[in-house]
């Protein structure tokens, strides 16, 4: 994709915890993949971003969403549900990236058609490695639908 478009991949990080945001960004920092990372810290903002509402009117359509589950205002499960119910958004891959290893959370996420579910490890080196694998897989290895809104 990158070779064809030469455009950076757009990644939307939906995460409320500032520490996690920073650590995730750190882990993504040394990526070989060219990408732009946007961050929103609650579910409502995530939906507004995706639907380009309000202050997000000029925002691009992301290639990948990294979604935490426990979010203020509207939690990750609801965000996931709305994305999958929205014709315009349903094809965007969503990687659930969360602290929870709760069986219920895992099952629920897949039922709501998350593309994959990842529990964040405590160890930073391990976390960095996982992030590498995620971008390698979702932004390099797999073929995704062509972006409709080329700008």
């Amino acid at each position: 994709m990158t070779e064809l478009t030469l455009k950076p991949a757009i990644v939307l990080l939906v995460e409320d915890n500032q520490d996690d945001i920073e650590l995730t960004l750190e882990a993504l920092q040394d990526s070989k993949v060219r990408m732009e990372i946007d961050t929103v810290s609650d579910g409502m903002s995530a939906m507004a971003y995706l639907r380009r509402e309000g202050k997000y009117a000029g925002k691009p359509r992301p290639d990948l969403i990294l979604l935490d589950l426990n979010l203020p205002l509207m939690d990750g499960r609801e965000v996931l549900k709305e994305i999958r119910e929205d014709q315009d958004l349903t094809d965007i891959p969503v990687v659930v990236l969360t602290t929870s290893d709760d069986e219920g959370d895992i099952l629920k996420a897949y039922k709501l058609h998350a593309n994959c579910y990842i529990t964040k490890p405590v160890d930073f080196a391990r976390f960095t490695e996982i992030i590498r694998q995620v971008e390698g897989f979702w932004l390099q290895l797999v073929k995704l639908p062509r972006r409709q809104d080329d700008r």
């Binding site: 915890n17 520490d19 650590l23 929870s100 709760d102 964040k120 405590v122 160890d123 930073f124």
Partner: protein
């Protein structure tokens, strides 16, 4: 005196004698003539008399013969036959009349001239003995007896005709005897019936002031039947003192008031054992033509057993009534047949919910209909307007058309259940928060420390790096603790359903996991063949994992050995995990299964103090028990049981 004189005297004497003789002869001649005449007359008279007498006798004989032949009584003339000791042994029939034939069924030809033993060899000897006494002694007898050979009863009059001869005059009394016997039987039956029914009867003749009790009345009063003549006073004496006045008044009042009958229940004290018996008395008065009561007929019925049963029945009938929970019975269409007080109160609280003709609320009615169709109990819950929750179980007893309804106030239980559910939810919430929110800052700590170490490697000296390392390790340990606590808290709430699992495969997968550790420690695990059991696979895997890790961890042997096997018990399997490790002092055998109870510092042997607590909780969730047998010299043996049926 001279001889002449003597001659003259002699002459005259002879003459005199001659003269005397002649005179005597003449007199004799005359007398003979007279006698002959008299004899002739006498003979004539005699002949006349004989002729007359013969006519008389002929007439008599004809008369007697006719009587003899026509009399209805049997008549027979016999002669007694005695044995060597002159005791009567037999008797011979000399003459019988036609009635004899009729009354005995024996014919004249077979009887006359023969003895009774010839005619009836089986004749009872008492007949011969009795008749022997009559024939030889002369005193007549009148007897009534049974003659077995003839199968009849006879009333017999026997009298002596001549020494050694006797006549009998007899009638057949079999019918009368039969009637008498029947009467006796009937009385006996009545007596027996009264005894069986415990129903005695009495009769009071007011004119003669005579009271008669049947045998059963005596028995009811604990007396010997007909022990003494019945009196009204004797009766009152047996009546329970507390009932005496009432009983006495019942009788006298009925007479005074001119009633035809009365009845009363009262107690009597049985004389034989002092037991209190309940009787039912019923009396009827009999009046003469002028309407005066002349007799009272009564019955005494011992109803103690009935009273006892009635009492038991009453208690049984009160049983549902005394139930503090609602108990009802209704027809399959919901019409209430019975409701106890509690059910009445409960129904009253539902008054605003009553629909249709039945006061049963809709959900209960549905349960009734369902229960009447199927054989098992149907439960339903219903909340009344006051907010009380009642559980109602509807069940149709086998073979009955009605439905029984059993209610129970579940209000408190429901509150408790809701509180428990709330508490469980909160606990879940807490566990979730612990797994998620407690780990987030931990991850941040570790993450930034590691970033610090990597990005500022040249700015941090070795001591600083050591601190960072210690902090990261502490955070990791904290994470392990959080995880294990979570696992522990989830054993019951988040367990999976039990499925048949091959424990051989399960243990093998644990061993595969431990491959590296086994190699590092030069350890060997010897596992016998294990059964397939219905279990929560993840939890039992965790159980084996923990036990094996412990067996290897707390082990200083150069070649640690662990044996796993099991033994089948009555209703469970007992598993054994045996090691050659450092062992555990018996004083700690309980403590090791408690949360955070460690016997060693983390430096000696790493661990969280949660492993065995988790094992215990897992085994207990499966309905088993876990224990250890060990000392500090010979390794440890951990046992746990898993029931066969879960």
């Amino acid at each position: 005196m001279t001889s002449y004189q003597w001659h003259i005297i002699g002459f005259f004497t002879v003459l005199l004698v001659q003269l005397l003789l002649i005179g005597l002869l003449l007199a004799e001649q005359r007398r003979r003539k007279r006698s002959e005449q008299e004899l002739r007359i006498s003979n004539e008279i005699l002949e006349w008399r004989v002729a007359d007498r013969t006519v008389q006798l002929q007439e008599n004989e004809e008369r007697y013969h006719s009587l003899f032949n026509s009399m209805t009584e049997g008549f027979a003339l016999h002669e007694i036959i005695c044995g060597a000791d002159e005791q009567p042994v037999d008797y011979r029939f000399l003459e019988i009349n036609p009635a004899f034939e009729r009354l005995t069924g024996l014919c004249r030809e077979s009887v006359i001239g023969r003895t009774v033993r010839q005619v009836m060899p089986e004749i009872e000897t008492h007949w011969i003995e009795t008749f022997g006494r009559v024939a030889l002694g002369g005193a007549p007898v009148h007897i009534e007896n049974y003659a077995a050979p003839l199968k009849r009863w006879y009333g017999v009059y026997a009298y002596q005709v001549a020494p050694g001869k006797f006549a009998v005059l007899f009638t057949d009394i079999s019918e009368r005897k039969k009637t008498e016997e029947a009467l006796r039987e009937s009385e006996k039956r009545l007596n027996r019936s009264q005894e069986i029914a415990h129903l005695g009867s009495w009769e009071l003749d007011l004119r003669k002031n005579e009271l008669v009790w049947s045998d059963e009345v005596y028995r009811i009063f604990g007396l010997m039947p007909q022990e003494f003549a019945a009196t009204y006073e004797a009766f009152l004496e047996h009546v329970h003192p507390d009932d005496r006045t009432a009983v006495n008044e019942a009788y006298s009042d009925s007479i005074r008031a001119g009633l035809d009958s009365y009845e009363i229940e009262h107690r009597v004290i049985r004389k034989s054992d002092g037991a209190i018996r309940f009787v039912h008395e019923k009396c009827q008065h009999v009046r003469d033509e002028e309407g005066r009561i002349i007799r009272s007929l009564g019955m005494v019925h011992d109803i103690t057993e009935r009273k006892y049963i009635e009492d038991k029945l009453r208690q049984l009938a009160n049983f549902p009534e005394e139930n503090p929970c609602p108990v009802m019975r209704c027809t399959p269409d919901g019409t209430i047949m019975y409701a106890n007080v509690s059910a009445g109160r409960w129904l009253a609280t539902l008054s605003r919910q009553i629909f249709g003709s039945t006061p049963l609320p809709e959900p209960v009615l549905k349960a009734v209909v369902k229960a009447s169709r199927c054989g098992h109990a149907i439960d339903t819950e219903i909340v009344n307007p006051a907010g009380q929750t009642f559980g109602i179980t509807a069940v149709r007893p086998p073979g009955e058309a009605y439905i029984n309804l059993y209610g129970i106030d579940l209000t408190e239980r429901k509150k408790a259940r809701e509180a428990l559910e709330r508490s469980n939810r909160e606990l879940e919430q807490f566990a979730y928060v612990a797994s998620h929110d407690l780990q987030e800052p931990l991850r941040a700590i570790v993450g930034f420390l590691q970033l610090l170490e990597n990005r500022y490697e040249d700015k941090v000296d070795d001591k600083g790096k050591h601190y960072i390392d210690r902090s990261v390790k502490a955070a990791h340990r904290m994470q392990t603790l959080i995880r294990e606590l979570l696992t522990l808290s989830r054993v019951n709430s988040k367990g999976s359903t039990f499925l048949p699992t091959d424990l051989n495969l399960l243990v093998q997968s644990v061993l595969d996991n431990l491959q590296t550790t086994l190699k590092e420690k030069n350890a060997e695990v010897i596992c016998g063949t294990l059964p397939t059991l219905s279990i929560d696979e993840n939890q039992i895997r965790s159980l084996f994992q923990n036990l094996l890790v412990n067996a290897l961890r707390y082990n200083e042997s150069a070649s640690p050995r662990v044996h796993i096997d099991f033994r089948e018990l009555d209703d469970s399997y007992r598993f054994r995990v045996q090691d050659n490790g450092i062992g555990i002092s018996p004083q700690f055998h309980q403590r090791i299964f408690m949360v955070f109870q460690r016997l060693h510092t983390d430096r000696e042997y790493p661990g969280t103090g949660l492993g065995l607590a988790l094992c215990k909780r897992i085994v207990e969730r499966h309905g088993g028990t876990i224990w250890v047998e060990s000392n500090t010299t010979g390794g440890s043996v951990f046992y746990f049981t898993l029931p066969k049926n879960m």
